[in-house]
Symmetry: C2
Subunit: 412 residues, 2 copies
């Protein structure tokens, strides 16, 4: 039987693919060109269910950040699992998601530049396409107002709330007022529909809770003023590290039927063995809903690569590099070793670690008497899914025996 | 007139493209979605001619490392400018280059893993395809020997010479002998055709010259022993930082008609404003051929991005991130500012600098009274071309007025 979710046409170029015409490739049998990026089906399904249950417990909705994967097949899985829509970061990302069937998008960024406005204006011609984006300056609001007025279109906006020293977002009430005044100058072409923040620029929980409460307070104040153009107000926050705290802080607002809370974690789907594993441990220790669940998220995205050289005692060179894996938040972590011909992979010794990475090579520190041979296959957990995904045009879905069950594509 | 080198079909998805159906887009007029990666035609032509002249002065040949760009259109430019062939790093890269017409490849890596061997075996069925790769272990040589013997094919190999503490390559004579013995076990399927080293793992010129001299000495010893399977011996070295020193050290060997010297710099084509600019300064100060040339290499690869927010004094947030630019060897450097509607861009003040970068945003440190507005377009030089290229599926070629003259694709 043909695996599900395999694109009609199997790609014939690019890395990390099998050579044969049938995609039922076995990683362990050496049927796939290494290095390869794989997604474990069981972990994906676990993570989809986990986040669906977590989100439901708080009465909020999930708009997972699609910039992490930019994969239409994974977007479809997230929407099938109940996501409200997809969050995206740029106008080309929105366009590519739309082309693959996504019809509800929160662009968690300002829309800047005429060509980017043109991309969105084209999509807004479809009345079935629901879109909103952020605004944090009167300059931008006026530019958007003029652009969309010329086209007799109306752009839906969330006021972005930020913090001094942070990224985007209004710092104080005066800035917020200036933005609101600008939006009010373009009643035909701009509609304020909600309030947004990104707490991930902060590192301490107290500061994050203060920002989230300020965001809720601003939403309530604007609601009392009648500033919103639609009856249902959007309230959005949450990256992949603090979504539990955002859920806690926004849960009260979500009880109001006029408020729709959208959380935007993107990395939950694949998780990792770096910063998000650390976040998961914190969440499981502190969040009552997470504590009630049997386990946390599982790392679903892994890399297989070959040992290419064992040139001196204590060092193996692996065919895996910055071209294949994120390296900005920790290097990939060896978890399995498989010698072609053996029945099954073995756990990698805990003292193995990558101590350097170049464009196409990684340096594995081992003990001088460890049994590592040229041709051995190594499986790695990764740190930072986003910057791993964008190194691959195709990733292979695999079952628990490392047999390929499908191919997913990316649109970076 | 239609620009040259535009693919027959203009891509309709992906980032950094224009919205209109005609690719004669103007960056300055806002016709291209930002961020975009651009290649300046004048700088590309300058760099192609510069390296052609430099290489010719030493009587050696150029096998530019294609892993930098993985762009078929740029490979074609390099071959048109006289390159011997293309160097590549992995079997899928070789396959993709072959599909785009490259017929002479040095794979500057070990060929490991059955699926990768299968990719190369398939290409070797074409007698017009000239291929060689590196070997540094008996284990790998025996695996290759057996694999290609089964297929009645012969694989051409270069013995890789390395250094202790370095990357791949034999460390000493005993290792080299073991590899040569293994190659000799497979006379039907393996052919030793040369010697190779990569000096870029070392940082000091004295150590580099010692490695290069050792490599030449090993080649001479093996030639005297009759170890090579072909009358013309390949001798190869050089990354993008020390190719001048390799040219100097290999020039004598190149005078022998039985020796073909292949240098492999890849980054010269686009250059950068980081480590390779520094290398260029060293080369121009010390190498007599370079000193005789009017100027060095020019940065050809640049990024344009929009100011997205100016949320507080001294800080602008730019729509450019780790998804768009290398960040491992220095952050992009702002060089131009253009306000839409102005006649021409202005040089960016020298005190501007990026002081942080996230997936989709960069943080520009400015003075509180600098005139920076949301919507301003900024042009950046980059550091590390390889990891910038692999963030883009298309790059735009531009003339000196920032009008698009063509599109080049990448195959990562």
């Amino acid at each position: 039987m043909h695996p599900s979710n395999v694109p009609a046409e199997i790609p014939v170029t690019g890395k990390g693919l099998g050579a044969g015409p049938d995609p039922c490739w076995s990683i362990l049998d050496g049927e796939v060109s290494l290095p390869v990026a794989v997604l474990r089906d069981s972990a994906l399904q676990h993570n989809l269910a986990w986040m669906r249950d977590f989100i439901a417990a708080y009465g909020v909705e999930l708009a997972p950040h699609g910039k992490t994967t930019m994969s239409p097949e994974l977007f479809a899985m997230q929407l099938d699992a109940g996501a409200w829509g997809i969050t995206l970061a740029t106008a080309p990302q929105v366009r590519d998601a739309y082309r693959h069937g996504v019809r509800r998008v929160l662009m968690a960024n300002q829309l800047v530049g005429r060509a980017n406005m043109a991309l969105i204006a084209e999509l807004l011609r479809d009345p079935a396409f629901a879109f909103c984006c952020l605004v944090d300056s009167a300059t931008n609001a006026d530019a958007l107002g003029a652009y969309f007025a010329e086209r007799s279109q109306r752009l839906r906006l969330l006021l972005e709330i930020g913090v001094t020293g942070g990224r985007t977002g209004v710092r104080d009430d005066a800035q917020a007022r200036a933005v609101l005044d600008a939006i009010a100058r373009w009643p035909q072409s701009l509609a304020l529909v909600g309030v947004e923040t990104y707490e991930g620029v902060l590192k301490d929980e107290a500061g994050i809770r203060a920002l989230l409460r300020r965001t809720v307070a601003i939403m309530q104040m604007l609601r009392d003023e009648g500033a919103f153009a639609e009856p249902r107000i959007l309230l959005s926050g949450a990256g992949s590290a603090w979504y539990d705290v955002v859920a806690e802080e926004f849960a009260d607002a979500a009880k109001n039927p006029d408020v729709q809370v959208l959380l935007r974690p993107g990395c939950y789907l694949t998780h990792d063995a770096g910063a998000y594993r650390d976040a998961d441990a914190r969440i499981h220790a502190s969040n009552p809903v997470a504590r009630s669940m049997a386990e946390g998220l599982r790392p679903a995205l892994q890399l297989w690569a070959c040992v290419q050289s064992v040139p001196e005692p204590g060092r193996a060179i692996v065919g895996l590099g910055k071209r294949d894996a994120a390296f900005d938040a920790g290097l990939p972590l060896p978890v399995l070793q498989h010698r072609p011909g053996d029945a099954a992979p073995q756990p990698a010794p805990s003292h193995w670690r990558l101590d350097a990475i170049m464009d196409q090579h990684a340096f594995l520190a081992i003990d001088a008497d460890d049994d590592v041979q040229v041709g051995d296959m190594l499986c790695f957990d990764i740190c930072h899914p986003c910057l791993t995904f964008d190194k691959w045009r195709h990733l292979l879905r695999v079952d628990d025996d490392w047999r390929v069950t499908g191919i997913v594509t990316t649109c970076f």
